[in-house]
Structure formats: C-alpha cells, structure tokens
Symmetry: C2
Subunit: 160 residues, 2 copies
DNA sequence: TATTGTTATACTCTATAACTATA
DNA sequence: TATAGTTATAGAGTATAACAATA
C-alpha cells in the first residue's frame, strides 16, 4: 500500500469530521453530562493542569481570546469553573474547577470513553494498534506549538 | 504495543478534535473559499452524488432536517446551490450545485488537500500508510448506517 | 506602550417544537 | 394519516473590532 501526502490528506479530511460528529453526540447526551466538545476539552484541560489563565485555555483549544472568554462564561454560569483575579498580576485571571466541575468531567470522560470503546471493540487488537499509532502521529503534527513542547517533553521523559 | 478499546477510545477523543480544528481553519481561510466544515462537506457530497434531496444531505452529515435546511439556505443565498421542487413528488426538494458552487468546491478541495499535505509530508511513507489505514477503519466504524451500505458496496465492487 | 481580558456585534451550527404542503 | 420540508426559537461556537484595566 502506498500513501502520498495528498492521499493521506484526502482520507483525513473525509474521515475526521465523521468521527467528530459521533464524539459530539456522545458528549451531548443529557443522561451523561451534556457538554459541548469545547466545554469538555476545557474542563479536561483544567483537570489535568490545575489552575491556569484564560490565555492558557485559549492556546490549548486554538481559540481567540474572546471566544475562550465566552466559553468560560458558560462554564462559570453552570458553576463548573471558578474565575478569579490573579493577585500577583491583576490583569490575569485564574481559572479552576469547582468540585462539581471536577466530578462532572470525570463522569463525562468515563462515559464517553465507554461508549466509544464499544465501537472500537469490534476491531481486532492489531487494528486498534493501528488507530492508536495514527492518533499519536496526528497528535504530534497537529498540536499547537506550545502543546508540542509539552508533549515532546512528556514523551522523551517517558522513554527514559 | 497493546491497545485496549478504552485506550484507543481515549486517544481518539483527544486527537480528533485537535485535527478537526486545523481542518476548520484551513477551510475557513478567505483566500481559499471560506467555507465552514459542514458547508464544505455538503458541497462535496453534492459534487459526488449529483442531484439529491434534503433528507439525503441530512443523513450524510448526520444532521436533523431543520439543521440541514438552514445549512442549505446559506448555500443557496451564496448562489452555490440550487433548490427546486421535485416534479415527481412535490414534497421533495432537489438540490444541485450551481456552476459557481462546482468550481468553488473543486478549489476548496484542492487547496485544503494541499495544505494538509504539507503537514503530512513530514511523515515517512510507512507512517502515512498507518494513517490511511486508521482512517479507513474509523470510516467503517463511524459512517452512518446508510453510508456504510454505500461504502461497502463501493469497496466490494472495487475489489473485483 | 504592551499585555490580559471583556464587551459588542455578527455569523454559523445545531436541536426541538410547531407548522405547511403533499401523498 | 404519514412524509418531506420549513419556520420559529434558542443556546453554543467562533471571529474581529473596540474597549478597559493593569503592568
């Protein structure tokens, strides 16, 4: 099998939106937690990194600052996120999860993974390895510059 | 390397939105054609299938009918799509590309592929094969039931 | 002046509910 | 009555431009 960059690009363009649609619908299910994909990713990021600024969130999601600001508005209103001023630099904002936010994101991660797992369970182990490898390659290619630094650090330290 | 369904699910959940973000930004570039992802996918579908109904489009995109209807509204307003009544069954709508729509989707496909290709050109050929294989697996798993039938027919006929 | 965020404004995406027209 | 589609309404995503507050 050959795969020119163009052929690979064509497959990625066709398939990624398809998978995205399923992921969105799983996360949106009300009996789980009814989060949009960006909301899910924001809470997940805050859960991993602890407290951070609005700029950190915007970079992680690849959003402009005003978009990130309104996104956080919604999460604050739902009492999943706390927004406070940074006493060290009052221009800055410090974001963190509420305990409700923490519990909801854990539930959302667990249930979304479970439901996706059911689909992926139809594949052979070798096929799943192919998928995991492809995801890791794409992750390195498509992460933002800042994320790449973090990821590469993580990878090289885990290889020690 | 092992890959449980859950591990694979976790990777897919993390990486697909990342890739989606890049795809969206490429399609949105004004100097290309400034299409949203659903608009791009709609035009692309019409380009492949020729004339079809609104229900066909909604199924292809995984949207509810009203969502598809407003999506088409925008494309009709931009004169990229023609919407007419089906004389055989006047409840039905017949959708097709205008010549402008046809030329714009060709440009959009070409330029988006080119830009994605540049990223994928950093990989080895073997790594690109991994990605193409993963995309094909995911495509089978995540296509709607109706799309699956079409895809499987296409695959089996191309294997003759 | 440069940086961090917010507000204002304007589209698009997407869903559900209620409706119209046709079969 | 059942089907195909539209309209009404509403909340979220996203961007740019203009602004405010702090450094």
């Amino acid at each position: 099998m050959s795969a020119t960059p163009r052929e690979a690009a064509s497959e990625v363009m066709d398939v990624v939106p398809l998978v995205m649609r399923t992921i969105r619908k799983l996360m949106r299910r009300p009996h789980t937690t009814d989060l949009s994909v960006p909301q899910f990713r924001t809470l997940s990021f805050l859960n991993r990194t602890g407290r951070c600024s609005l700029t950190d969130v915007a970079e992680h999601l690849g959003l402009a600052l005003p978009s990130a600001s309104t996104l956080i508005d919604g999460l604050v209103e739902r009492k999943l996120v706390i927004r406070a001023f940074d006493p060290a630099d009052r221009r800055r904002v410090v974001l963190g999860l509420t305990s409700r936010g923490h519990s909801i994101i854990l539930t959302a991660i667990r249930t979304t993974q479970s439901q996706l797992s059911e689909l992926l369970a139809d594949l052979t182990p070798a096929e799943r390895v192919t998928i995991v490898q492809a995801m890791q390659l794409l992750s390195l290619l498509f992460a933002s510059e800042r994320e790449k630094e973090l990821t590469e650090t993580k990878l090289s330290s885990s290889q020690l």
